[in-house]
Symmetry: C2
Subunit: 371 residues, 2 copies
Amino acid sequence: LSSSRSRLELRHPGGVTPILIGAGLLAEGAGELAGWMADRTVFVLSTPVVRKLHGTRIDAFVDAAGRRLDLEAPDGEVAKSILQADRLWQEMLQHGGKRDSRLVAFGGGSLTDLGGFVAGCFLRGIEVVHVPTTLLGMVDAAIGGKTAVDMPQGKNTVGLFLHPTALVCDTDVLTTLPRAELRAGLVEAVKKAAVLDPELFAEIERDLDLLLAGETSALARVAGRAAAAKCRIVELDPFEAGPRKVLNFGHTLGHALEGVLGYSGFRHGEAVAYGILFALRLAARRHLDVDLGRRLFALISRFNLPEMPLGVAHVDALIAFMRRDKKAEEKGLTWVLPTHLGAYELTSSIGWPEVETELKAFLAEPFAVPF
Amino acid sequence: LSSSRSRLELRHPGGVTPILIGAGLLAEGAGELAGWMADRTVFVLSTPVVRKLHGTRIDAFVDAAGRRLDLEAPDGEVAKSILQADRLWQEMLQHGGKRDSRLVAFGGGSLTDLGGFVAGCFLRGIEVVHVPTTLLGMVDAAIGGKTAVDMPQGKNTVGLFLHPTALVCDTDVLTTLPRAELRAGLVEAVKKAAVLDPELFAEIERDLDLLLAGETSALARVAGRAAAAKCRIVELDPFEAGPRKVLNFGHTLGHALEGVLGYSGFRHGEAVAYGILFALRLAARRHLDVDLGRRLFALISRFNLPEMPLGVAHVDALIAFMRRDKKAEEKGLTWVLPTHLGAYELTSSIGWPEVETELKAFLAEPFAVPF
């Protein structure tokens, strides 16, 4: 049992966040976090689906709480709104939440994004522990201190940096995760592996069938390694001033696809997968090693992605969305392009005419090999 | 001219915030902040009254901005709402605000509290410069990184710690400040002087008539010295984990008075003045040096405070409010009580029965000398 467990530490300006990954962690109770909950009011934020699937695990984990109060947010991206945050703050105040109260966020990436934001602003910040229930949450969303809600003008446009006190990733919860969610989470692991961790890339290539089938020990290994890759880059650049931009690989077009489809057509990871394919096109005209290009292209092709809804994903709408990208600084968009396995370049010098031409060709035939 | 100017530096976990204090700073333009605004989108947040009174000074100060966009919030505490923040975030997104955009908050303590919160959460944080237009803002509200909005359940209950990139305090703007606002701001200077800075206390005793009459050079001296006292305590304890609680002197009952009066009966500083008088009662039963007690009592008595609206400020309502105080930790309220000039004690051991008895006596005769 313990062999498939790992413990990482993420060092950041506010301290150190332990990241516990493995099977059965929740059922064993809070463990080293029991003291953190004892004699405190612990707000337990979750969604109807998560509570239904994992209620017993939640109960076991927060059993050490001095006083437990349940909070609920809707499932999915719709949770990430100022309206939801406002309602939660008011409930927490009505229930006597204080500066030394705690919040535990049980759920997917949207729920931990919301939970982190709510905790970070409640009485100017209370401590939060994230318990991600999706692979995406474990390898990406819940790590790195980014919290946010969405505005009508764009996703993740209001939020702050707040690292959780700890991150508890129990891979047992992945057994109830729909396969499409698993696939979407794996895309973020592939993203990191391609530009940051050659060994992880080879492991995903080798185990992809097991991973897509939900084999827990393979998932625990990949989750641990992908989380470690993210920790290293976040430690280098906690506020995304430079190197951390690499995590945006595949996200420039990915975010635009999600936006143009109204955040309902694709899962985040599915949109990012298409974003990676498009970045490969731009990279092929620059410093991409063709061997990496072919391997990454082949790997993404095995994901059996849902088809691109071409009637909606128009070139013009996508370009307009990218021009407004919140990651654009006043000087323009930065593209993350792979070079060879484990390496990448950041470039702000790609003109809109080239993006437009390549995007037209890409939309016409997303799976056409560009090299 | 330059003799009445001072420059302080506040060291905090995010860096160093210069605090410039003196006459004529705004009219001279951005000075060392010109580079911070150049080639950037600069959002200029202000209120109708501030714009009317100081429009020319604002124009001069932000003249160096690459692109200037004006934002407006209502005057007074009503600005500090999630509704206002939400509207401002949306306007900033609609106008193409980016991660390297800037915000300049021109206004009183409410406006800089709102502006800091809006900047701190916009795209997970953009830089802000505060330009306080009230004495309260210069000596207290805009210093120390506390930002917040209010909820129906309490003031300042949602917010975060974000230090401004700089603080520009032009005492020229105080010439248009109503005398009652000046008096309310001076209370915060007296608060700090009594427990932190004996020389400042003596200076306020000596110059009070000049200060209340709005004499600018006396105000500039006191503002600089009170700001310095606040900087020292904030540097010791950036997140109010311990020593910074001293700044809560007079605020336990002060906040309750404001709350019970619906945040409209008293100015903040007026409520704090009554809070100081009440703290003196509790302190008189403990370690208060009678000489300090008499001097502080006499000084507050010279402020010509508005009368306590006894029909509204009931004992029961005030006690109920204090029990919900957001600064209460699960273990109870901490009172800040002066001991001798420049010193104080923090105590969590005052029982509610004593508070209630003393409060009844206090409300019956607020200006009865308790020693």
